[in-house]
Point group: C2
Chain length 192, copies 2
């Protein structure tokens, strides 16, 4: 993905996908997702159209992707929680860790969540990840607290928890204060 030829333009030789994403998400957030073209993104990011499409095949792919790291932190933490903890205590702790976005991704995460919120059609792109995460929660609840993943109580608790956490993250992104992990934890405390 990096260019080794001499380039007189002063543009960076290596394209940083995170930097391109940030430029794109700022544009989508400020001007509206539908109003911004891939050409606009390429121009604003100072990369060629070709390089942009190589990294991101679509506008939607510029929005999605970064939330994977949330799921990785969440599931890793869940695996590490002591067996003595109830599912609820362990899940709440894992949500705190998952929602602890590194400082240098706070701005991009905020834009990302705002853009997704403003464009419900984008949510389709996150459906598979969201279904997978709810599945992780259902299995963990069933394993820790007994019962089957297919029990009404397990399914309902898992979906309500996922909705609460996701709503809290969106609220954080649109209200702009504090740390996302604190907002998520405050939201889950409502059900504690």
């Amino acid at each position: 993905m990096s260019s080794t030829s001499d380039r007189p333009t002063g543009r960076p030789r290596t394209i940083d996908p995170a930097a391109v994403s940030l430029v794109a998400l700022r544009l989508f957030d400020e001007q509206g997702f539908d109003a911004v073209s891939m050409d606009d993104v390429a121009t604003a990011a100072g990369v060629s159209r070709r390089s942009l499409f190589r990294l991101f095949p679509s506008k939607a792919s510029l929005v999605w992707g970064g939330l994977d790291e949330f799921a990785v932190r969440f599931t890793d933490e869940l695996r590490l929680r002591p067996a003595s903890e109830s599912a609820w205590v362990a899940l709440r702790a894992a949500y705190r860790v998952g929602a602890t976005f590194p400082d240098d991704t706070i701005e991009i995460t905020r834009h990302r969540l705002r853009v997704i919120r403003a464009n419900p059609s984008l949510e389709r792109g996150g459906e598979a990840a969201s279904t997978a995460l709810t599945g992780v929660i259902e299995r963990f609840m069933a394993e820790r607290d007994g019962g089957s993943v297919d029990d009404l109580a397990t399914r309902v608790r898992a979906h309500a928890l996922a909705a609460a956490a996701s709503t809290a993250l969106t609220w954080w992104a649109t209200h702009g204060e504090g740390r996302p992990e604190d907002v998520v934890d405050e939201a889950l405390a409502l059900f504690g």
Copy 2:
């Protein structure tokens, strides 16, 4: 929408949209939404392609529509709940009334929810209705219990409640026993 000409085929002269929907949803549920064409639906329902498209402009419109009545029952009941009730008590009661599908719509509702569940892309069609319903809940909670519709607690509680009820209805549709309103009430009792 009805035909007044003499028809020798023995088909009904008046096309009943509910009957056409039921035929379509049975097919979608049994054979898969993508595997069934509008022609298949027309043939199975014994109506012309033209009549079918006049009633239902797309396959998705055969799936959506009937859930509006849920929202109508729900919001009407919410309006009638005594002012002395907490938001939670009133909302739970309204969900019971909303989920009380008339006997003659139980089968179609079950197929409808199963088809939506099996085809996440269909959920887009329900987004507007689902967002509207969550908005109703947020406003009701803020009004009854104080606070603003934009408070973290209001938003999180409303989305978690909507997710719990929706998960319960889907669970009922795929597990096939009992009345939907009892399953929804059992689910909400988990948070009481």
